[in-house]
């Protein structure tokens, strides 16, 4: 299973590298958000109680999670294309199991998001973002980015396999990712929002990722927060992977 999954990840990455235009577009989008939002909401820092002096410092962790959401949200398109051009049929006949097919797509997406986040962090430095130089906290930021992209990627794959239509996937990706983003503290502190949004934010797993990354950026370790984030993300991802495999099995019966 690991061998075929590794080969598939290698294949998907190679396809992406040979079409660099898509990596470029996926990279440009969060950078545009970073520039726009950092200018648009820069005045927020003057409001009493705002937790940072520099809005870019506050916003960048939110933009990192936004990159995970938007990039991984469309991960299902890859599976859909594989289904449409019968590549999955060919893989199944070649003894590649369904879990490898689903996992390879999600992991490839995570690797691409890690690359995008690296570029994003580097560029956000120009705008005043500062990361406390601590190898362990940087590593943990990457772990959270990986798990967030993985969760969204597996959800996107599941929607793709169930709907089997690109239009439905795009609609669902927007329908899910935008509320998840706005119901988090990605752009604005929780206590600045109406009460009902504050309650919703509490139950939004994406908010866990935003806050964990924000804390790690200034080397504040909240072990409990990290463990809870990773456990919830792993649990939800395994549900989506299982559901995707079950659905794939049904399709091919």
């Amino acid at each position: 299973m690991y061998r075929s999954m590794g080969l598939l990840i290698f294949r998907h990455l190679k396809v992406n590298i040979r079409q660099p235009i898509w990596i470029f577009f996926n990279l440009v989008q969060p950078l545009v958000w970073l520039v726009l939002f950092s200018q648009l909401f820069s005045g927020l820092t003057s409001i009493p109680g705002f937790p940072a002096k520099n809005y870019v410092q506050y916003l960048t962790p939110g933009i990192i999670v936004m990159t995970c959401l938007f990039s991984a949200g469309y991960s299902g398109i890859g599976i859909l294309q594989d289904m449409e051009r019968k590549l999955i049929d060919k893989l199944i006949v070649a003894s590649v199991n369904r879990i490898s097919v689903v996992l390879a797509r999600s992991i490839t997406n995570c690797i691409l998001v890690l690359f995008q986040v690296t570029v994003l962090i580097s560029i956000s430095y120009l705008f005043g973002f500062r990361l406390t130089v601590n190898v362990f906290s940087i590593l943990l930021i990457y772990v959270i980015v990986f798990f967030t992209s993985f969760l969204i990627g597996t959800l996107s794959n599941y929607i793709a396999i169930v709907s089997q239509r690109q239009e439905a996937l795009v609609f669902m990706a927007n329908f899910i990712t935008l509320p998840l983003l706005f119901l988090s503290s990605a752009m604005m502190p929780k206590n600045f929002s109406p009460e009902w949004i504050q309650i919703a934010t509490k139950f939004n797993p994406i908010n866990l990722a935003v806050e964990s990354i924000r804390n790690l950026a200034i080397s504040q370790f909240n072990t409990m927060q990290l463990v809870v984030t990773l456990v919830i993300f792993t649990f939800l991802s395994s549900i989506f992977i299982t559901l995707s495999c079950v659905k794939l099995k049904k399709i091919y019966e």
Binding site: R3, K86, V93, A94
Partner: protein
């Protein structure tokens, strides 16, 4: 050897794609499944390729049960699907290497296999090039090469030459025959092209509405519709008049000779009769009742197309 017994496949929507099919295919045999769209050809191949589970019945491939020994069966089969499935962004070599590795072929053996398939299918020169520069025929050849990379004992070809020009089609037939001979491989092919089945297959089954309607060698099947086909080519000025008198002409031909069938095309009348030599006088006599003169006669023997019409009541082409 493949033994299919009482194979039935009903889809979730209730559509019965296969209805109690029985087929036995020997080792080293090229077996053709002929049928119109929706007849059940691709469903049969999908079941044999372990992509669909049968609703009932059994399929035994080289002693392995399709329900129990799925993984083992996958190791001994190669599949060419209806649509060409190759990675356009990869080179031919990368396509072969990646698929071979996914099938579990070991590194040293894989290089030898790539050498062999590219040699047999005359792909060697273009292997270093990206597939998006390949022609349709080249892509199909690469697709077949990919299916052969794990040295399968059984090869499934689902309409392998669909959409290719006649020259490439004929060339592919020759490759398939050559590969089958070299490896004593069993090949199961579904096709729309009757001449393809005639050229390639040792035995043929005609499948219609999920049922096998007849099985035999191409020769045996053609014998069943023994007789001659006479095409009466008409002058263009007579064609309009013919169309108005179709019923009358059929009646007249029926009275004059014991013909099997009569059809009207854009510029000719096709008469299926027992013997051209015995019936030509009667054909001329039937024609003489109408005010048109035949431009020429073409006589040919009945083909698989006629077999197909006999068993299904319609043309396949």
């Amino acid at each position: 050897m493949i033994e299919i017994n009482e194979l039935t496949k009903t889809y979730r929507n209730g559509c019965k794609a296969l209805n109690r099919i029985n087929i036995t295919i020997g080792q080293g045999e090229i077996y053709g499944l002929l049928g119109p769209n929706g007849a059940g050809k691709s469903t049969t191949l999908k079941v044999l390729a372990t992509l669909l589970l049968p609703t009932s019945g059994s399929v035994i491939i080289n002693g392995l049960d399709i329900k129990r020994d799925t993984k083992k069966i996958r190791n001994i089969i190669g599949c060419v699907f209806q649509d060409t499935i190759v990675d356009e962004n990869f080179t031919g070599y990368e396509n072969l290497y990646l698929h071979g590795a996914l099938c579990g072929v070991k590194k040293n053996e894989l290089k030898q296999r790539i050498d062999w398939v590219s040699d047999v299918l005359e792909l060697k020169e273009c292997l270093p090039n990206k597939v998006n520069f390949y022609s349709g025929g080249m892509k199909r050849k690469l697709d077949i090469a990919v299916a052969l990379i794990n040295n399968p004992q059984i090869l499934y070809l689902d309409e392998p030459t669909l959409g290719l020009d006649p020259n490439i089609r004929r060339k592919l037939w020759e490759y398939i025959k050559q590969i089958q001979k070299q490896n004593n491989m069993s090949v199961i092919i579904t096709t729309h092209y009757l001449e393809e089945a005639d050229f390639l297959c040792n035995r043929i089954s005609i499948i219609d509405k999920g049922k096998i309607v007849v099985t035999g060698t191409p020769g045996e099947l053609k014998k069943e519709v023994e007789g001659d086909l006479v095409e009466i080519i008409l002058y263009s000025e007579d064609i309009e008049g013919i169309k108005e008198k179709e019923e009358e002409i059929v009646r007249s031909f029926n009275e004059k000779l014991s013909m099997k069938n009569i059809e009207f095309t854009d510029n000719s009348i096709l008469v299926y009769c027992n013997s051209f030599e015995n019936d030509i006088v009667n054909i001329l006599s039937a024609i003489s009742l109408f005010d048109f003169r035949p431009k020429s006669f073409i006589k040919s023997s009945c083909s698989l197309d006629d077999v197909f019409i006999k068993y299904t009541g319609r043309h396949l082409k």
